[in-house]
């Protein structure tokens, strides 16, 4: 029997049992589609996080005050450092030759009032390099004065949403408003941009770091972001920073470093794992489809006993009979996979047009895994009933009612 004839023969079965064929195809294609869609969402999330980190810049180091270490046993009684990281510490770090830019950050929530409108806004105190380090751009106006790390100047830059809510369509530049108990003049508005590392850049305000010290009445830095001059100098820089901090903090280098690469790869690994788990969960639906195929093939073998007996009587070998049933299942799997794939791609395309800022594309490995799982499952689950058909005694099969 030629290979093409197995396909032609299977086709006659599908045409004859349209409803059954359609339902099996539906089950298979839904299985394939769900694997592809779930992994695509996982990959999209991974890509999103990746992008967020990249937006931060790849050669960045973040310094947090206090020493945070993973250690066994009970947490230390004084978990936080008794010594704050201050603007003066940061100014001392500027002597390290591998640092390109460095920005101290004081962060807090401040009540900003303009006229009769007021809003609680996350307010960051920093210096000019902060904008470049966080890839923030001005929509209008100008940046902080260059001496923001030494002098207070009453100027503020607003996020686009804050500006919108306080000023509406009116011009904000040059207007005075209240931040806590102090008066500031608006000198800039940030360009509209989405979130970055969980911080909504539209819903925040930036003032000078010395001004923030005053507003929040504390010299303690929230963190320090620095940019390296040369890639690969993280280690050297960290050593330098630690020794300078130690000399200024009574011998304690009580700071913690977060390198972006380390965070990114950690996130990457976690997200990949999440994606694969999602895919595996979806693959269960394929197994269910496989069981369905097995049941239907069993029923088919029982219903077609006469046919099997006849085929054997007119000279079909057991192998040919087995192949007939396996090929039927495989064709269903191939067509089901194709439909599932098309359906998944169509849905992903649709989702991409609706949520255009969220990256969605079916990863190739997921398509491959979904389709090959469908094929393997169909093959394995059809083998048992097909084998049963092949072993049918033709005399009994022909005689059966």
């Amino acid at each position: 029997m030629r290979l093409i004839d197995y396909f032609i023969y299977a086709l006659t079965v599908f045409v004859r049992h349209k409803m059954r064929t359609a339902l099996l195809l539906l089950a298979l294609s839904m299985g394939v589609a769900s694997v592809i869609i779930l992994t695509t969402i996982g990959e999209g999330a991974r890509h999103f996080i990746h992008q967020e980190f990249s937006a931060m810049g790849s050669d960045l180091l973040i310094i947090l005050p206090g020493k945070k270490e993973t250690q066994g046993g009970a947490p230390p009684i004084n978990g936080a450092s008794p010594r704050d990281l201050t603007i003066d510490d940061v100014n001392a770090l500027k002597t390290i030759n591998s640092i390109d830019q460095i920005a101290p950050i004081i962060a807090g929530t401040a009540l900003i009032r303009f006229g009769n409108k007021s809003r609680e806004v996350i307010t960051m105190g920093s210096t000019t390099p902060f904008f470049a380090l966080r890839n923030m751009r001005l929509g209008e106006g100008r940046l902080l004065p260059d001496n923001a790390d030494s002098h207070h100047s009453p100027v503020i830059i607003l996020g686009s949403k804050v500006k919108q809510e306080l000023f509406g369509a009116e011009n904000a530049l040059g207007e005075w408003l209240n931040v806590g108990d102090f008066r500031f003049r608006v000198i800039g508005v940030l360009e509209e941009r989405g979130e970055s590392l969980g911080l909504d850049l539209r819903d925040m305000a930036v003032i000078g770091v010395r001004s923030a010290e005053m507003v929040f009445d504390s010299p303690a830095l929230f963190r320090v972001i620095l940019k390296l001059k040369y890639a690969g100098s993280e280690h050297y820089t960290e050593q330098q920073v630690r020794s300078i901090i130690a000399s200024r903090h009574e011998g304690e280098d009580d700071v913690t470093f977060i390198s972006q690469d380390a965070m990114m790869s950690a996130f990457d690994n976690v997200m990949l794992m999440v994606t694969m788990v999602l895919g595996a969960i979806a693959a269960i639906s394929l197994i269910v489809a496989g069981v369905l195929i097995m049941n239907v093939t069993y029923i088919s073998v029982a219903q077609r006993k006469h046919e099997i007996g006849l085929l054997k009587a007119i000279g079909a070998t057991a192998k040919q009979v087995k192949t007939i049933f396996v090929i039927e299942a495989l064709i269903l799997a191939i067509i089901g996979s194709a439909f599932g794939l098309l359906g998944a791609i169509a849905l992903i395309e649709l989702a991409t047009t609706i949520w255009s800022n969220f990256y969605l594309a079916a990863p190739f490995w997921a398509i491959f895994a979904a389709c090959s799982t469908a094929l393997v499952v169909s093959l394995l689950f059809s083998l048992v009933p097909a084998k049963k058909a092949a072993q049918l005694d033709p005399i009994i099969a022909l005689r059966s009612k």
């Binding site: 029997m1 030629r2 093409i4 004839d5 032609i8 023969y9 006659t12 079965v13 045409v15 004859r16 006469h306 046919e307 007996g309 006849l310 085929l311 054997k312 009587a313 007119i314 000279g315 079909a316 070998t317 057991a318 192998k319 040919q320 033709p394 005399i395 022909l398």
Partner: protein, 228 residues
């Protein structure tokens, strides 16, 4: 030529052994026309299935065309079934979802004849039995007589050496049944060996060689007698 030597087949029925064939010796020559009669359960169908290689004997030898069939593997036996043996059943056994033409072409498909060629051959086979107008009909659109003629066309398509007919007229009215018998005998006169199992005395009489089988034992008789 088909030779059966000391063929035995025992079935276990309700815990008791039942001899379906008891040291059967039989020689069938090319072009022979035999009818087999006997009471129900006497072993008529077993004999047919044995010669048709659907069943294996417990003992004895079965040679078909000089080939000792006991030592053949199952695929080899399938090939002989396909190429040398034509089956005709009481209930026709056409595949219901296939057209008359496709049913006739089934053995050709199994032997790997390309689609176009087997359509032509099957069409010619149908035409010989005046069924070419019905080629595209499904079995459910055909009458009993037509169904059995399609089945005969299928049995003949591989140009077998022997035709095994198990009550071929059992599901037909007497007029159609006689037409089918005429057809089978016509084919036999062209040189094909015909082995007919029947309950019908008037049909059994028509064969030159008459076999009677009782409790698995075969005797060749001059006149059939009626069984229930």
């Amino acid at each position: 030529m088909i030779e059966l030597k000391g063929i035995e087949k025992v079935y276990t029925l309700g815990g008791r052994p039942l001899k379906a064939l008891d040291s059967v010796n039989l020689t069938i020559h090319r072009g022979d026309y035999l009818s087999v009669m006997g009471p129900s359960g006497s072993g008529k169908s077993t004999l047919l299935n044995m010669i048709g290689l659907l069943d294996r004997p417990d003992k004895g030898q079965l040679n078909i065309g000089g080939v000792a069939t006991e030592s053949l593997t199952e695929p080899e036996r399938a090939t002989i079934r396909r190429d040398k043996i034509g089956f005709i059943f009481q209930s026709f056994h056409l595949v219901p979802r296939l057209t008359a033409l496709e049913n006739v072409a089934l053995p050709l498909m199994l032997s790997g004849v390309p689609l176009k060629q087997r359509k032509e051959q099957a069409m010619a086979g149908l035409a010989q039995l005046d069924l070419d107008a019905r080629a595209d009909h499904l079995p459910k659109q055909l009458s009993g007589g037509q169904l059995q003629r399609v089945a005969i066309a299928r049995a003949l398509i591989m140009q077998p050496e022997i035709l095994l007919a198990d009550e071929p007229t059992g599901n037909l009215d007497s007029k159609t049944g006689l037409e089918v018998m005429d057809l089978l005998e016509q084919v036999n006169q062209q040189g094909l060996t015909l082995l007919l199992v029947t309950h019908d005395l008037s049909l059994g009489k028509r064969a030159p060689r008459k076999l009677q089988i009782i409790d698995g034992k075969i005797t060749e008789v001059n006149e059939h007698r009626a069984f229930n």
